[in-house]
């Protein structure tokens, strides 16, 4: 339901929007790579198939059935983040980004938990490796309030299932504190930070990217620290070093600390589909 509304959203926005085709290709790629990686990695590690298999699906090999049973929301959200935030000169970039995202998800792991946010990894890897072909457009979404509102609602929907929504709020609050603080320090009118907060790209980043339940710290206080560190690094990159895509690098760097935060602040691991 949430995802279908997002699809509708994709269809009607602006001039530099990705076409539905781009989304379909990316979504197909993320799901396909998710299944492939699960198939091979599960096989190699001979993780037992889950119980509760329905009889009429018995003809499907265990690994594939497992993969299919796994919630496909995760690869879909990855695809959505990739298409919403990454811009490319060539369409083949998107399957590549999808592959990189999924590869990071299944191969870069600590204690059976992937470190990097898959979509963020895909975006950062492409930005670093193919600077002549890709870019991100932080201004693309403009600052229309209604759009912000819609995204907010949709975001809340996604998060209410993921139950890790607090991190998006923590992040936005940290970001707001930083840019309002900056405006006060500079003596700028508050219309400037308000304008900045209404950025659609910021909301997409907060609600669809960093809130990925699998790559955020398990304990809520860990998530609070995590969110603040992203905001701080992103702020420094953006305002001090003029790196427009600063928040993506900030998330990438901060993800490296997640295992540490988990070690210090223990809590239940998140699992898709379990609440």
């Amino acid at each position: 339901m949430t995802l279908s509304s997002l699809l509708l959203l994709i269809l009607f926005w602006s001039d530099f929007a990705p076409t539905p085709n781009v989304f379909l290709i990316t979504a197909a790629s993320t799901i396909a790579f998710q299944l492939l990686f699960m198939f091979f990695i599960r096989k190699r590690n001979s993780i037992p198939a889950k119980a509760g298999i329905q009889k009429h699906y018995r003809w499907i090999p265990d690994q594939v059935r497992d993969a299919l049973r796994e919630d496909i929301r995760s690869p879909l959200i990855t695809a959505l983040s990739l298409t919403l935030l990454l811009k490319a000169n060539a369409i083949w970039i998107f399957p590549l980004a999808a592959f990189l995202a999924m590869a990071s998800k299944f191969t870069i792991r600590v204690q059976d938990k992937h470190i990097f946010n898959p979509a963020n990894f895909g975006i950062v890897a492409c930005l670093v490796a193919l600077p002549d072909l890709v870019w991100v457009s932080p201004g693309q979404w403009g600052s229309a309030v209604w759009l912000g509102f819609i995204l907010l609602c949709l975001g809340v929907l996604v998060l209410s299932k993921a139950r890790r929504g607090d991190i998006a709020i923590f992040f936005l609050l940290s970001w707001a504190a930083l840019i309002f603080g900056r405006a006060l320090w500079l003596g700028d009118p508050l219309t400037i930070p308000f304008h900045n907060m209404q950025s659609g790209a910021l909301l997409i980043f907060a609600f669809f990217m960093i809130s990925d339940p699998k790559t955020t710290p398990d304990h809520w206080s860990g998530r609070l620290i995590f969110a603040f560190v992203i905001a701080l690094i992103g702020y420094i990159l953006q305002y001090e070093f003029q790196v427009r895509e600063g928040i993506f690098y900030a998330l990438f760097i901060t993800c490296l600390c997640t295992p540490l935060l988990d070690l210090m602040l223990k809590d239940k691991r998140y699992q898709w589909g379990k609440t």
Binding site: N89, P131, L133, W185, I192, H195, F241, Q242
Partner: protein
């Protein structure tokens, strides 16, 4: 103490004049004679790596002694980093990137042929600001004059200030009236470690130069900041300001990162009377587009590889002019390597060298409320071509004798209606008025097929 008024950067008040029809395929299309956009400025920015060259054009109409500008710059600008250039180069860039009207002539539906023509829209420019003489107790006020020199007809000072009130006091002591709110904005720039580029006209040099207009002023610097300061300019503007920003890059399109980019409507079929009113049309259309976006967008008018154009509103700029505008990575003819001689027996067609300059033309209408923040820019690798292009289709007017010809005439009123509706939605003009103007211009909604008046048997036996 003079009563000079300081008017701030973005300077520049600009008139967008649909000027000079460039003949295309030998067809003349009339120019519109009304000035279009008031209070607008024209800026060219070249950017590659962290090198920026900013060219500010001004068409200051008042007494040149009243001219002065204050521009925040990210770094100290020394004498050799400033240049004055020929306004014609920017005019050329303006013409090359201008939104264009293309004209097609329907063929005889009973035969076939086509012609094309174009009109372009050209912006003319800005007008700027003011400052007087003298360096007094600058130091005491915490104002440091980092550099002071004359380039062409301009006297330039680079100021570093510790406190905005000191800077303000100093400028006021020098005889300038500052718009309200300037201190806050200056303070913000001071805290961001920006320097101030302060310019006035050196009257002696101006007279010596023999020019009647002030020439564009250019600044080159190397800094990671890639932005256009607009905040000072919004302070004393009554109402909206207009800015045309041209960028030259090696990689691709430039876009703002803190405002949305919207492509202006393009490719629409418009009625014939637009030809003589292209300026009026474009202005109305632009206003309509701005309103639709709540005045909060930057409009893309042109994005193209400088090596070519289609249709061309003006020829692409020669390499020397591109270098003059700051595209330092372009080969000048002197640097060109000597091409190896073609081997005997092989024909090599002359291929124009790749220019490697991507031009973007953005158009912004802004005020302090809708554009509270300076425009932050980024170079993207987007090399997709885009142009503002409007199409006029002249109906075939001759006599027709075939069935297809009659069908053609029958379909015309519907086509005219579509054009009228399209124009109405683009410009917000009343559709009934549009229909009237179309009829007056010869697009008759009751058009009847023209025949040569002969009966079919007369035509059948005409050769006998």
């Amino acid at each position: 103490m003079g009563e000079n008024m300081i008017r701030f950067f973005v300077l520049l008040s600009l008139l967008l004049i649909p000027n000079a029809a460039q003949a295309f395929c030998g067809f003349y299309v009339a120019k519109a004679d009304t000035s279009l956009f008031n209070k607008a400025s024209k800026v060219v920015m070249s950017r590659h790596d962290e090198r920026t060259v900013m060219t500010m054009v001004n068409d200051f109409q008042g007494d040149v002694k009243d001219f002065a500008i204050v521009i925040p710059v990210p770094t100290v600008i020394t004498r050799s980093q400033v240049n004055v250039t020929d306004g014609k180069i920017v005019d050329h860039l303006d013409a090359y990137t201008a939104p264009r009207l293309v004209e097609y002539f329907d063929e005889d539906p009973c035969a076939m042929r086509m012609l094309e023509d174009s009109v372009m829209l050209r912006s003319a420019m800005p007008q700027a600001a003011v400052m007087a003489e003298g360096v007094s107790n600058a130091k005491a006020l915490g104002v440091t004059i980092l550099e002071e020199y004359t380039v062409g007809e301009y006297d330039i000072m680079i100021l570093d200030a510790k406190q905005s009130d000191g800077l303000l006091t100093w400028l006021e002591q020098e005889g300038y009236k500052l718009p309200g709110g300037a201190d806050k904005v200056l303070k913000s720039y001071i805290k961001q470690d920006m320097k101030f580029f302060v310019t006035k006209v050196n009257l002696e040099e101006f007279e010596k130069s023999g020019f009647t207009n002030l020439r564009p002023l250019q600044v080159a610097y190397e800094h990671e900041k890639f932005m256009l300061p607009i905040r000072l300019g919004t302070l004393n503007a009554d109402g909206d300001q207009e800015l045309i920003l041209f960028t030259l890059t090696k990689e691709g399109r430039v876009e703002p990162t803190n405002y949305r980019t919207v492509k202006i409507p393009t490719g629409n079929d418009v009625p014939l009377f637009v030809k003589d009113n292209f300026g009026e049309f474009y202005q109305a259309m632009f206003t309509e587009a701005v309103e639709k976006e709540d005045k909060k967008a930057v409009f893309l008018e042109y994005a193209w590889d400088m090596a070519w154009c289609d249709p061309c509103a003006a020829d692409p700029l020669p390499n020397d002019d591109l270098r003059e505008l700051g595209a330092w990575w372009v080969d000048s003819p002197d640097d060109e390597e000597i091409q190896p001689m073609p081997r005997a027996g092989r024909m090599i067609a002359p291929v124009p060298a790749p220019v490697n300059v991507f031009v973007t033309r953005m158009h912004v209408r802004y005020n302090a409320e809708t554009f509270p923040e300076d425009i932050a820019l980024q170079v993207t690798s987007d090399r997709q071509n885009f142009q503002g292009r409007y199409v006029m289709r002249h109906p075939f007017k001759g006599a027709v004798s075939c069935e297809a010809g009659k069908e053609y005439y029958k379909a015309l009123p519907k086509r005219f209606e579509t054009e009228a509706q399209s124009l109405a939605s683009l410009t917000g003009w009343d559709v009934a008025d549009i229909r009237n103007r179309m009829s007056e211009a010869g697009q008759d909604f009751d058009i009847k097929p023209k025949t040569d008046g002969r009966q079919w048997w007369e035509r059948m036996w005409e050769d006998e």
